[in-house]
């Protein structure tokens, strides 16, 4: 149970190590970050979409936590062997 958040932390921390560790290069040895940003997208637009993504991901994280907590509280139940029963959608 306590291991549940660990893959997410490991994944995010690994990504941050790669992205922050590469600075000031965008493409190591070839292109600087200062050469890579778009000159035609204004800071305000960037801030707007950053806030939008933060809002969207916060809502998603809350929904995820609610659903996972419910699932854990519910437990495998009696129909544990018939795990696919009751899922009306088959997702490709």
């Amino acid at each position: 149970m306590l291991c549940l958040p660990l893959p997410y932390i490991a994944n995010t921390a690994g990504w941050m190590t790669a992205e922050i560790g590469r600075q000031p290069w965008l493409v190591y040895g070839l292109m600087r970050t200062t050469e890579g940003y778009s000159k035609y997208v204004h800071a305000g637009s960037g801030l707007f979409t950053l806030l939008g993504f933060m809002g969207l991901y916060t809502v998603l994280a809350i929904l995820f936590l609610v659903l996972v907590t419910r699932e854990i509280a519910h437990g495998p139940g009696a129909d544990a062997e018939n795990i696919n029963a009751g899922y009306p959608i088959t997702v490709a």
Partner: protein
């Protein structure tokens, strides 16, 4: 080689519109023709196994664009930054709407995600139409080949337009109508009973509107971009394409009248294909037209990758496509027939 890649990108975008178009159409109609919880589940099951695969064609098309025409990719993704981000949010919202609905019982929870699914589908259809409208109308490219469009300015076309102006709004309306009919035709193929009846009714009710808006958009396009007929004048054989659009519309009507759901759906596919191919044939070899100076147009010649990359890329593209097409044949065969 540039010619081939222009058409490969065009074909991939067309494949996206035809395939994800009916997912969006089903979403647009979701709240209107599916009334009970059971019907809404059936509606979602018609697209359930395929919608996310269909969506991948957009990513594959974008990737191919990045590979073959990097300047266009850089310019377009900067200039259309705001609408592209909004489209991305809408795609996320649609995915959430489809996936999270099932996880909890309860009318509020399900109603909320049904709403997310329907609203995002409606807005995506309008945005895709407007996006295509922007590409056809042109954008104010500067000397570096870049631009930035606000969401709207004064609603006029001309040198300094916004993402939304009267022309792109017509394009958005056309996309909304065409994809609603496309989705209705698909749902009619995949369902039986009441849902099938309502989907048929929507598709036949909207057909006259589709014919009208198609003609209006043709007139609007030629009134703001006379030069789009250049290719057609040089190669009159291209006039086959608009004729094919007309024939698809007629076929759609005839199949609909005889309640032949498959035929009507295939006619709708043909309509979308010929509309997009017709537009691509008109803009070629321009990828993005400048509203300020034709010399600043982004064309396949000034935006294309090197010829070595392009010919080598063709080999890998073919392998990738073979896999993708194989997968699509497999999945559509597996889920063929009506949803019970």
């Amino acid at each position: 080689m540039l010619f081939i890649w222009f058409w490969l990108v065009a074909i991939m975008i067309t494949a996206y519109v035809v395939l994800d178009g009916f997912d969006l159409g089903a979403g647009i109609l979701h709240l209107f023709i599916a009334r009970t919880n059971q019907e809404r589940q059936t509606m979602l099951r018609t697209i359930g196994p395929v919608w996310d695969g269909n969506e991948v064609w957009l990513i594959a098309g974008g990737g191919t664009l990045y590979f073959a025409f990097p300047l266009l990719y850089a310019s377009g993704f900067s200039g259309f930054y705001l609408p592209l981000m909004i489209v991305l949010w809408l795609l996320i919202l649609r995915g959430i709407g489809i996936e999270l609905r099932m996880h909890l019982e309860g009318a509020v929870w399900r109603g909320f995600f049904d709403g997310c699914f329907a609203l995002s589908s409606i807005l995506l259809a309008i945005f895709y139409g407007a996006a295509l409208g922007n590409v056809v109308r042109g954008v104010p490219l500067n000397k570096d080949g870049y631009f930035f469009l606000p969401l709207w300015t004064n609603w006029r076309t001309g040198a300094d337009p916004g993402i939304l102006d009267w022309y792109t709004v017509i394009a958005g309306a056309l996309a909304l109508l065409a994809l609603t009919i496309h989705g209705g035709s698909y749902v009619a193929v995949k369902t039986a009973g009441e849902l099938n009846q309502r989907a048929r009714r929507v598709a036949s009710l909207l057909w006259p509107a589709l014919v009208l808006v198609t003609l209006v958009s043709l007139w609007a396009t030629l009134s703001i971009r006379r030069d789009l007929l250049t290719n057609y004048r040089r190669f009159p054989v291209l006039y086959v394409i608009p004729v094919a659009v007309g024939l698809s519309l007629i076929a759609m009507y005839l199949h609909r009248r005889r309640n032949q759901d498959k035929g009507a759906f295939l006619s709708s596919c043909a309509y979308l294909i010929f509309m997009l191919v017709g537009a691509a044939a008109a803009v070629y070899p321009n990828l993005l037209t400048s509203t300020t100076d034709p010399a600043l147009n982004i064309t396949i010649y000034n935006a294309g990758s090197g010829s070595y990359s392009l010919s080598y890329g063709l080999i890998w593209w073919s392998f990738g496509m073979l896999l993708a097409v194989g997968y699509f044949v497999f999945i559509y065969r597996m889920f063929r027939g009506k949803v019970a």
